[in-house]
C-alpha cells in the first residue's frame, strides 16, 4: 500500500527539513522517502493533495487519560483514540491511573489489545511507578516494559517520599524508562482546589501554592542528578519549576518537561464563576506563571506540548466546585491552542512541530517516531495554519464534554491524521483532498 502526500510544505525538525519542494511517499506502514516536485510518482499509489498544508511527523501526546479499564463511562480506549486522531495526535501515551492501576503486564497488555481493536491511534501505555500508585513498593517495571510500556509514572498521586522516589528512579533507569512525575507536594497542596493567590482568597476556595509544585520539581532534579535517571516533569505550571528545569538542563541533567495548553491559555481569574470545567491539577495559575511558561516555550526549556486529556462525566462536573473532580478534556483543542502561540509569535511552526512530535518521541525514547526519516513509522499529521474553525464540545469524539473551550474560535488545526500509513482522520471540510486526486491517480 502506497500513499503519496503531494505538494505539501514538509517540516521535520529531526532532519532540519523545512521545504515546499518535495512530496512524501509512504509505503507498507513506513516512510519510504521524499520525491522532488518534478519526479514522477510511482504507479498504483493513492495521492493526498496537501497543497497549502503542512506535513509533519505524527504528533505524540505524552499525557493522556483514556480511563479504560475502570471508568468506561468517562472514556474508552476507542473513543479516546478517536478524539486523539481528530485532534491530530497519531500516538497517545496512556496514563496508568485506571482501575485497576496499570501496574502489571496484564493491564498493559489489555490496554494494547483494546487499542489494536480500535485501529485508530497508537496507544502506548505508561506503567505505574509503584504498586497501585501508592508510593510504597516498586511496580514490576521490567515485566510491563516487556508488555509494552514506554515510561513510568504515578501520575495524579505524586510520590511524597523522596527515598521511594530515589529507588524508583534508580530502578527505572536500569530499564531505560523515563520517570514521569506529577509534581505536587501533598503536604502543601492538600485540600486545595485552585491556585493559591489573590483569586483563591477572593473566591474563598482553598488554594494550592505554586511552592507545592516547585519543591517537588526541585527535589526531582536533585534526585535525577543522584540517580542519573531520565526525569520528565508532567504538565509544568509554575515560574519556580520552569527555573528549576532550566538550571537542570544547563547542568546537563536528564530532565525534560511538558506543558498543557490550558496552562498557558488561561489564568486563575477565569474561576470567578466557579466553573468546574476550569478545575484541574495542577491548577490554572496567575499571569506571572503564564509568562514564565511562554518564555519556557520560546527558549526551549519546555520540551513538549501534552494535553493532559482528563475526561469526566457531566454528572461529576455538576457538583459543588470543591467536590468536582480535577481535569478537562484536551485532545481535540490542543493543536488549535498551540497555533495561537504561532499566530502570537511566541513560537514558529518548526518549533510547534518539535514540541508535538520530535521532542516527545525523544523524551520517551520512541524509536522511528517523531521523524520523517526513511523507514520511520508512517505516522503523519497534516496541518492547516490558516483554517478557521470553532470548537464544538457537543460534537467532540470524546465521551466527555468537560472543556472550558467549548465555542472557542480557533485558527489552525490538524486536518488529516495518518497512522501506520493509513488515513485515520480527515476533517470533513477537506474531503476533496482525497477524492479528486484518487481519480487523477487512477486515470
Amino acid at each position: 500500500m502506497k500513499l503519496l502526500i503531494a505538494n505539501g510544505y514538509i517540516i521535520d525538525p529531526s532532519q532540519e527539513i523545512n521545504t515546499g519542494g518535495k512530496h512524501l511517499l509512504l509505503e507498507n506502514g513506513r516512510v519510504s522517502g521524499m520525491l522532488d516536485r518534478g519526479e514522477e510518482a510511482p504507479r498504483d499509489c493513492e495521492v493526498l493533495d496537501a497543497t497549502g498544508l503542512i506535513v509533519a511527523p505524527g504528533f505524540i501526546d505524552l499525557h493522556t487519560h483514556l480511563r479504560e479499564p475502570g471508568a468506561e463511562y468517562k472514556e474508552t480506549i476507542a473513543t479516546g483514540s478517536a478524539a486523539a486522531v481528530a485532534g491530530g495526535w497519531t500516538t497517545v501515551c496512556a496514563m496508568p491511573n485506571t482501575d485497576p492501576v496499570n501496574d502489571s503486564a496484564a493491564v498493559t497488555r489489555f490496554i494494547i489489545e483494546q487499542a489494536q481493536r480500535a485501529q485508530l491511534a497508537n496507544v502506548f501505555p505508561v506503567g505505574a511507578l509503584t504498586k497501585g500508585s501508592e508510593g510504597i513498593e516498586l511496580a514490576e517495571m521490567g515485566e510491563m516494559q516487556n508488555a509494552g510500556i514506554v515510561a513510568v509514572s504515578d501520575d495524579g498521586k505524586p510520590v511524597p517520599n523522596a527515598g521511594t522516589m530515589r529507588r524508583a528512579m534508580e530502578y527505572a533507569h536500569g530499564f531505560g524508562l523515563t520517570v514521569v512525575d506529577h509534581c505536587q507536594d501533598p503536604s502543601l497542596s492538600k485540600g486545595g482546589v485552585m491556585h493559591e493567590g489573590r483569586w483563591s482568597l477572593t473566591l474563598g476556595l482553598k488554594g494550592m501554592p505554586a511552592a507545592a509544585e516547585d519543591v517537588q520539581v526541585i527535589r526531582d532534579c536533585v534526585l535525577s542528578k543522584l540517580t542519573r535517571a531520565a526525569v520528565h516533569i508532567a504538565h509544568i505550571s509554575t515560574t519556580g519549576s520552569i527555573e528549576a528545569v532550566r538550571r537542570a538542563k544547563e547542568a546537563g541533567l536528564s530532565v525534560t518537561c511538558e506543558v498543557a495548553p490550558h496552562h498557558w491559555t488561561l489564568t486563575d481569574e477565569a474561576l470567578v464563576d466557579y466553573d468546574t470545567n476550569l478545575k484541574m491539577s495542577p491548577p490554572l495559575r496567575s499571569r506571572n506563571h503564564v509568562e514564565a511558561l511562554l518564555e519556557g516555550l520560546r527558549d526551549g526549556t519546555i520540551d513538549a506540548i501534552a494535553t493532559d486529556h482528563a475526561p469526566h462525566h457531566l454528572d461529576e462536573k455538576t457538583l459543588e466546585f470543591d467536590r468536582a473532580p480535577f481535569g478537562i478534556t484536551g485532545l481535540e483543542t490542543a493543536i488549535g491552542l498551540a497555533f495561537e502561540l504561532v499566530h502570537q509569535g511566541v513560537i514558529d511552526l518548526e518549533r510547534l512541530v518539535a514540541l508535538c512530535s520530535t521532542n516527545p518521541a525523544r523524551v520517551f525514547g520512541l524509536e522511528d517516531r517523531g521523524t520523517l526519516k526513511k523507514d520511520a513509522h508512517a505516522d503523519i499529521t497534516i496541518l492547516d495554519a490558516n483554517y478557521q474553525w470553532k470548537f464544538d464540545g457537543a460534537s467532540s469524539k470524546s465521551k466527555s464534554r468537560n472543556t472550558p473551550f467549548d465555542g472557542r474560535e480557533m485558527m489552525g488545526a490538524a486536518i488529516a491524521t495518518i497512522v501506520g500509513g493509513k488515513l485515520v482522520y480527515l476533517n470533513p471540510d477537506f474531503s476533496r483532498l482525497t477524492e479528486s486526486k484518487r481519480r487523477e491517480a487512477s486515470a
Binding site: L201, L203, E320
Partner: protein, 320 residues
C-alpha cells in the same frame, strides 16, 4: 428612593457598587420599625414563596431569614440538606431542578462550600440569596453590620475599622471588607499569621491593610469586629492552643483603650467567650452584638422584598 433592585440575585458584596449597597441599607432602614410594632407583619410578599435551603446547619441565620419572610407575609419553607446525603447521589443540579419545579419566588442558600449559590444561580431561574457559602461571602451579614454601624456612627465613610481573627476562613470578613471599602472606610485586619495571609491585602484595590499584631489594627479604630474561631473549617492546626489564641488574639478591655473613645465592638456570633472575645467586652457597653441580630431581620426583609418581587408588586399596583 427607587423601589427596584436591578439584580436578580444577591450572591456577594464584591460585585455590588456603593449605590446598590446604600439602596439595600436604606430599604432595610424602612423595614426596621416593622419589627418594633405590636403587629409585626406587612403584606408585601403575600402569596410568594421563599425557600430556605440550608446545606450547612445554622440556627440564627436560618431563623432570621424565616422571621424576615414571615413578617413580609411570604410563605417560608425550610429545607435542610445534609451534605452527607448529597454525597450519596444527588448533584447540585438535581437539587436545583427539584426546587425549580416548586416555583419558588426566592431561594436562600447556605452551603459549606464556596460558590454553591453562584452555581445554583446559573442552573436555575429563581432569585438566589447567598446566606453564606464556605469561606467566600456572607452578604447579608455584611449588610446588617453596616446597618448597625450606620445607626451608631451615622456614616461609614472615613471610618477606621479593625477586623480581628480568622480572616482566612471567614466569609464574614470578606463581605465586610468589600462593603466597608466600597463605602469609603479603611479596614485593617490582624490575627495569627496562619490565618491572615499577607496576600489578603490584595482582596481589594484600596482601603485594606494587613497588620501583624492586633494592637496595630485596633489603634484608633472606630469599629472593632471580632471573628469567630471556626474550628470546623480548619483542616489542620493553625495555632497551638485556644489558650494561646485567647492570650494573643482575643479581644480584651485593655485593647479597647487603644481604639477611638467611642469605638464600638461587633461579633457575627456565635461567640466563643473567653477565646476570641472576653465576656467583659462582649457584655460591655460598647458591644452591639444584639443590635446586630435585630438589624439582621431588617436587612433580610429588605433583601427578600427586593428580590422576591415585593418591589415589583408595588410598582404594578401603582400603575393600575
Amino acid at each position: 428612593m427607587t423601589t427596584t433592585f436591578a439584580r436578580k440575585h444577591l450572591l456577594g458584596i464584591r460585585e455590588l457598587d456603593a449605590d446598590e449597597i446604600t439602596h439595600l441599607l436604606d430599604t432595610a432602614e424602612t423595614f426596621r420599625d416593622i419589627s418594633q410594632r405590636e403587629i409585626k407583619k406587612v403584606p408585601a410578599l403575600r402569596g410568594r414563596t421563599v425557600i430556605n435551603l440550608f446545606f450547612e446547619s445554622s440556627t440564627r441565620t436560618r431563623t432570621s431569614f424565616e422571621i424576615a419572610a414571615k413578617r413580609l407575609s411570604a410563605d417560608a419553607v425550610n429545607i435542610s440538606v445534609s451534605t452527607s446525603s448529597v454525597s450519596k447521589g444527588e448533584t447540585l443540579l438535581d437539587t436545583a431542578r427539584n426546587l425549580e419545579a416548586m416555583s419558588p419566588d426566592c431561594i436562600v442558600v447556605r452551603h459549606s462550600m464556596a460558590g454553591a449559590p453562584q452555581q445554583l444561580a446559573k442552573m436555575g431561574n429563581s432569585p438566589i440569596v447567598n446566606a453564606g457559602d464556605g469561606s467566600h461571602e456572607h452578604p447579608t451579614q455584611a449588610l446588617l453590620d453596616a446597618l448597625t454601624i450606620r445607626e451608631h456612627k451615622g456614616n461609614i465613610q472615613n471610618l477606621k475599622v479593625a477586623i480581628i481573627g480568622d480572616v482566612l476562613h471567614s466569609r464574614v470578613a470578606r463581605s465586610n471588607v468589600h462593603l466597608l471599602t466600597k463605602l469609603g472606610a479603611s479596614v485593617s485586619v490582624a490575627g495569627p499569621g496562619t490565618l491572615v495571609p499577607a496576600e489578603f491585602a490584595e482582596l481589594v484595590d484600596h482601603g485594606l491593610s494587613v497588620e501583624k499584631g492586633i494592637e496595630d489594627a485596633i489603634a484608633g479604630a472606630d469599629v472593632v469586629m471580632i471573628l469567630r474561631v471556626q474550628r470546623e473549617r480548619q483542616d489542620a492546626a493553625f495555632f497551638p492552643s485556644m489558650r494561646e489564641y485567647a492570650v494573643h488574639y482575643g479581644l480584651q478591655s485593655k485593647h479597647l483603650k487603644l481604639a477611638a473613645e467611642d469605638a464600638i465592638v461587633m461579633h457575627p456570633g456565635p461567640m466563643n467567650r473567653g477565646v476570641e472575645i472576653s465576656s467583659e467586652v462582649a457584655d460591655g457597653s460598647r458591644s452591639l452584638i444584639l443590635d446586630q441580630v435585630t438589624n439582621g431581620v431588617a436587612v433580610r426583609m429588605a433583601v427578600l422584598y427586593l428580590l422576591a418581587g415585593g418591589g415589583r408588586t408595588e410598582l404594578e399596583e401603582r400603575s393600575h
